[in-house]
């Protein structure tokens, strides 16, 4: 049971928290504006976001880490600290998180159970890592409870689930062939709760805070694409927003990692860039507080926010090799087409001339009236 002190802590709003942290109101509104624009919301929504966040009570969040590498947590906690975004993370009442909580053993599990009981039907469940289901789920257990059992138990009382990272969203590396543990994404186990997939290996921290801000402001989840990802962040491909796109359009490609093209920053398509088939906000939001993103560092996109990216063949194999010399290819194509066409026509002509040779001349004798 939560003490009176805890209740008081819960009553503290984001605004109070920000002030205590020395964040100015101006800085807070800037965050609200950038969140609105990231989420593709109208500028008119900025005051609404600010009002909602200012008055939001800390919602209880239970974070379950299953078959994972902690990269998602690393991404979230390290890269943006101590930013406004991390404050939003702090603002939630993170009642259970393996990596971050001080408690261990029975005390830790008690915290989870307490949070579940006190906030039944209202808490947010964040999951990172895939869930192994093979052989009764024995390949990953916490406090003697299999991941799949724990997920089912905690999900039952959750208002919504945020599947953080490609493992929770699509199965990730655990799910890659031959998938020895029978790893599954959250969405294949829990089917009766709203789920947001914040995919990526790891996902962009701003996307998580954006989804949380949206939930706090509108009390519902944002619009999702067909893979359950927030459209505002996953609506466009890396390729379409890539600063190297003009080189692709001109047909200027780096052929190796140390050739002239690579040094000149040409398109990495031929080095296996999966940007054209990958939907994420990397090219616009970037990483490390907006410093850069992989392509900017000279490496092709791996496509980590797409399902089964581990099983898509080499990271360095191009999606498909673009045409070398368009004019020549076109000439060959037209030539081949003409030859095939001429061959088809020749076959048809010979069939027709054979028919002509076999012409049956109709004479009056053929006009015998039937009796």
């Amino acid at each position: 049971m939560g003490s009176a002190v805890e209740q008081n802590v819960r009553a503290i709003t984001v605004a109070d928290r920000l002030r205590a942290q020395g964040i100015s109101r101006r800085g807070f509104l800037k965050f609200c504006a950038s969140t609105a624009s990231l989420m593709a919301l109208s500028p008119a929504m900025v005051p609404a976001i600010a009002r909602a966040l200012e008055n939001a009570r800390r919602p209880s969040v239970i974070w379950l880490s299953f078959q994972e590498c902690t990269g998602c947590t690393e991404s979230l906690t390290r890269s943006h600290s101590p930013s406004v975004e991390s404050l939003i993370l702090e603002q939630v009442s993170l009642d259970y998180h393996h990596t971050l909580q001080a408690a261990s053993g029975e005390a830790a599990e008690l915290a989870r159970e307490t949070a579940m009981q006190e906030n039944q039907g209202k808490y947010l469940l964040v999951v990172d890592g895939s869930i192994p289901v093979k052989d009764g789920g024995v390949y990953s257990t916490i406090a003697g409870i299999t991941n799949v059992d724990m997920l089912n138990e905690v999900a039952a009382g959750a208002a919504a689930i945020i599947a953080v990272g490609s493992c929770a969203a699509f199965g990730g590396i655990g799910h890659a062939r031959p998938n020895p543990t029978g790893a599954m994404p959250v969405s294949e186990i829990v089917t009766d709760k709203p789920i947001v997939n914040v995919s990526g290996c790891p996902p962009i921290p701003t996307v998580i805070t954006g989804v949380l801000a949206h939930f706090l402001t509108f009390n519902k989840l944002p619009d999702l694409d067909d893979l359950g990802r927030p459209l505002a962040f996953f609506g466009q491909s890396i390729h379409d927003r890539c600063y190297r796109r003009p080189f692709y359009d001109k047909g200027l490609f780096a052929e190796s990692f140390d050739d002239e093209g690579a040094r000149k920053g040409w398109c990495l398509y031929r080095l296996g860039c999966k940007g054209p088939a990958t939907y994420n906000a990397c090219a616009t939001t970037k990483w490390n507080q907006g410093t850069s993103f992989p392509i900017e560092a000279g490496h092709p996109c791996l496509g980590c926010s797409e399902p089964d990216f581990w099983d898509m063949g080499s990271f360095y194999r191009a999606l498909s090799i673009p045409t070398e010399d368009t004019t020549r290819t076109l000439v060959y194509g037209v030539g081949t087409g003409a030859v095939l066409g001429a061959a088809a026509a020749a076959v048809a002509r010979s069939r027709k001339s054979k028919a002509k040779a076999a012409h049956y001349k109709v004479s009056v004798n053929d006009l015998e009236e039937s009796t």
Partner: protein, 417 residues
């Protein structure tokens, strides 16, 4: 001799050319042609949908020119051209189609369906599937010289009568004349007044013309039955006659299919250019009118209308000429609905009139013309095709309708100044 099925398939193969292949592949199965065909509209029998009539030809095209058709042939599941199919389709192709070409006018992808049916007939006749009546007519045309069995002596009798009535000479076998007139045997036997009309008009206009004793018949049953071989044989007689007389022009009479065969199919069937020009009588008369050589003294007072013969208006493009000519003699001329290039066929062209089996269907199809005429209330209908004319007379009589049918040329001749 190969089997009838083989002969049909081989003939269809011969007929599949660029236009046919593109028509068949561009058909979108919309069914619009059905509503353009009077055999469909008057019976509502979906088998009479024009494009359906080319099914035997389509099967050969499909199995030899399309990927899936070839695949089906390889697997032995393609629909074949069989005797049963040909027998079933014979009435659709000959009894329920006058080659009027109205379907070709409405096809949204521009398929000339009437041309396709004409080509389909090539395979039908090669395999022996043609109506008896039309076979007989074609046989007479080839062996005797005319589908109605008219020989030159019979024409001579009619010429004699005309000369006696008009007091004019009807020139025969005049070498070096400008124009050689052809006749349809329908005109010789039923409407000899056409010969008199020519004599009167040409006399007044000073046209140098002649008939040819070796080639007076214009009707081409070979074209109607769909045999280019026989069509060519009949056409060759006309070409030989015209060449022997050294004429500059050959005049197609008031007969739709004769004009179509002579003017448009002839040079293709014979594979050579004519040493003369073909002109339809209405075209010549309108030329005379424009030169001021055709003058009338009085007009017909009665309300009259004009029936456009399909082959002349749709395939020949002779639309304005008859109207200009009628404006000379008609004081109360009214147009039928759909007049001009979309006119409804009389129901008896393309060999249907020679096909006794088609008689009930032909009369059913006449309902269209009947309702057109009833809506108009005209007492006289002028036309420019002896075959249309005789079919109209028959249809009107069958329906107890009191409407006079006359030919345009003789109407003009009757009112000459």
């Amino acid at each position: 001799m190969s089997s009838s099925e083989d002969r049909a398939v081989n003939a269809f193969r011969e007929q599949i050319d660029g236009p046919i292949a593109s028509y068949l592949s561009s058909c979108v199965h919309c069914g619009l042609c059905a509503h353009a065909c009077l055999f469909f509209t008057e019976t509502e029998d979906p088998r009479y949908t024009p494009i359906n009539k080319v099914e035997p030809l389509r099967r050969v095209w499909k199995s030899e020119y399309t990927f899936f058709g070839k695949l089906a042939s390889m697997l032995g599941v393609a629909k074949k051209v069989t005797d049963d199919l040909l027998e079933e389709w014979e009435p659709l192709i000959y009894d329920a189609c006058t080659l009027c070409g109205r379907c070709s006018m409405v096809c949204p992808v521009g398929n000339d369906i009437s041309y396709m049916i004409r080509k389909t007939r090539e395979g039908m006749v090669a395999a022996g599937y043609a109506p008896d009546g039309l076979k007989g007519a074609t046989q007479r045309a080839v062996t005797i010289g005319s589908p109605m069995g008219v020989k030159f002596p019979a024409l001579q009798v009619q010429i004699h009568n005309v000369e006696r009535e008009t007091g004019l000479t009807v020139p025969v076998d005049v070498h070096g004349a400008d124009y050689m007139a052809l006749l349809s045997s329908m005109e010789i036997m039923n409407f000899p007044e056409y010969i008199g009309a020519l004599a009167k008009i040409f006399d007044k206009a000073g046209v140098s013309w002649t008939l040819c004793s070796e080639a007076f018949e214009a009707t081409n049953s070979g074209m109607q039955i769909g045999s280019s071989d026989l069509e060519g044989e009949l056409l060759q007689r006309v070409v030989d006659g015209a060449e022997s007389l050294g004429v500059k022009y050959v005049i197609s009479p008031e007969c739709g299919h004769a004009y179509y065969a002579l003017r448009w199919e002839g040079p293709n069937v014979l594979g050579k250019k004519y040493p003369f020009q073909v002109i339809h009588i209405l075209e010549l008369l309108d030329q005379l009118r424009l030169k001021g050589k055709l003058k009338v003294e009085d007009k017909v007072d009665e309300k009259l209308t004009f029936h456009d013969p399909c082959q002349i208006v749709r395939k020949g493009g002779v639309v304005e000429e008859p109207r200009s000519l009628l404006s000379l003699v008609a004081s109360d001329f009214v147009e039928m609905e759909d007049a001009g290039v979309m006119n409804w066929c009389c129901g008896a062209g393309g060999g249907v009139s020679a096909n006794e089996r088609a008689q009930p269907l032909k009369l059913a199809a006449f309902k269209r013309k009947k309702s057109q005429l009833e809506a108009l209330g005209a007492g006289t209908m002028v036309t420019a095709c002896a075959n249309c004319r005789i079919n109209m007379e028959e249809g009107l009589e069958e329906n107890n309708m009191q409407i006079e049918v006359i030919g345009l040329t003789e109407t003009l001749a009757d009112h000459l100044a």
